[in-house]
Structure formats: structure tokens, C-alpha cells
Symmetry: C2
Subunit: 173 residues, 2 copies
Amino acid sequence: MAFNTEDAPGVHAEQPEQTGGFVFNHTMIRVVDPEKSLAFYTKVFGMRLLRQKENPDAQFTLYFLARTDGYDVPADEAERAKFMSRIPAVLELTHNWGTEKDPNASYHNGNDEPQGFGHICFTVPDLAAACQWMDDNAVTFQKRPEDGRMSNIAFVKDPDGYWIELVEHSGNG
Amino acid sequence: MAFNTEDAPGVHAEQPEQTGGFVFNHTMIRVVDPEKSLAFYTKVFGMRLLRQKENPDAQFTLYFLARTDGYDVPADEAERAKFMSRIPAVLELTHNWGTEKDPNASYHNGNDEPQGFGHICFTVPDLAAACQWMDDNAVTFQKRPEDGRMSNIAFVKDPDGYWIELVEHSGNG
């Protein structure tokens, strides 16, 4: 049955069978210093590092993180990689070797010009409690709930300046 | 139990209880023409438009899409918005009104300079079949499986030029 939103121009309300099994698996961002980014995403957002893949020829390492709530994650590394390829909401961090030692290295957050990518978002049970947790971890805010007109959302910045939206599980974000 | 990957510098292997209930809910990208983008993501990737939110004051509309495999999605709009706030792997498209009529409007894909965001990824049961489906829909490839050294992955472009990785559910991507 089509949703009332699905009369928007362009929408195909019938899911093609050729897309069966497709999973929106991950979003990739480049990071300057993986130690800082791994600390941030594993501690502040409770993600777990499920896989790490080095490419010595091209001098980069990929880190794959996800929240594992409700999953029985395989301990075996190969099985865990396969498991990880089938779940949604993985965050891939790309580290090009050496950027962490370059004081001028930085990445573009997509909200400064030229614009494109905007943010990732974590939904949370309690926005005030989540904001307190951000403060406990000295996380930089782009927008606190009380800034501007939208008191139901906040934005923080990750170590590279990428924006992370915080919004409650209320459906009002 | 810690995974063998979790000895990487910076990693907190213990998930803080303050992050309980956090969900990596969505990734936001700006799009020039929502009709084209909605057609692309609903047809080629089988996502469904779960929510649409207009902001007439600031002249933008947000579209929230997700694959709904395995979910019992509420028909009621408010209930569906709440449902959508609790699931992972939502794609948010931001449309700033008027860009679709501006022949010079474009967004930055994060892979051209200045770099930052890299791509989103869909994992698929069969890479060759998925590539055929892309060709059936005249989708532009950034990298076919046979291009370069990594025959197990492909990249296509969405209507704005954002990269979408395709990789099988094998754990070898």
C-alpha cells in the first residue's frame, strides 16, 4: 500500500524486485586522525569498530563502525566482515596515511561552500540527556537546542568538523 | 567481549550506558531536483518515501527515504514519522526551493576537491545482477567492477553526482 507521501513527483511506490536484498549499508567520510575519530565515535556515540582494512599500496586504512544493539556479532574476523556487509547504518572512516602528522590537513564538511553532503544524524531517547553527555565529553556544538527556532534538534561537530544532528525519537525532528 | 579490531589506538571497547538507545538514523545530502532524486532512489534502490517535511519560511523541503524490508510501517503519517526516527539507514534529501529551475545549480560530491564526504554504499546479493540493473536504468558508472584493481566493487553516480558504492554481501568489499 502506498503511503500518502508517495504521491510526490518522481516517486515509484512499488519496490522493484531487482532491488531485493539491497541494504543501505554505510556512509563514508575521510578523517585526518583516526585515533581521535575512533575515540569520538566509539565513546561519545557508542559505536564499535567491527572491521579495519589496510591498503599499503595506496597508503590508506578503512575503519568500519556500527552500533551493535540487538546483534549477535561474530567474534571471527572474516565472519564479522560478512556480518557487517549485511547490516545497515555502518560508518566508514577513510584515513589517508600521514594526514594526522600534517598540521595543515583538513577535510571539507559539506556545509561550508561548496555545499553538498550535510550531516549524519543520531536519534536519541532524551535530547537533554544526550546534550549533557556531549558536554561531559567536551564535544563542540554547532547548534544547541536553545539556539535558533528549532528547540527539538541540536548539532555537534566531530573531530574533523563534520556535523552530527541529534534529535529525539519523537518523529518531530 | 572486545573484537580483535578494538585494540586500535583510541577505541573504547566498552559501550557507554549514556549512549543507550542512540541510533545512527540518517545521512543528509542536498539535491538540486527532488523529482529526479526521488525517482532514482525509489526505483533504482527500492527505497520508500516515508516522510516529507516542508519549511515554507526557509524555503526548503526535506525528504526521508529508507528501505522498509522486514518492517511493518505505520500508515498513519505521525506514527510513520515516529517510526522513521527509530530506524537506521534513512537517507535525507534536502531541496532548497528553486534549484531545480536554475541551470547552474549543482552540489559538491566530496570527492572532487575540497574532499570530505566520500560516498554512500548499498550492499547487494549479486554484484553483476546489480550492475545490470544499473545499466537497465541508464545509471552512470564512476567505476565498473572491471575498471581498476578492485573487481569486487563498483561505484555509480546519483543524479547530483554523489557516489554510491555497490559491493556484495561477501565481506570482501
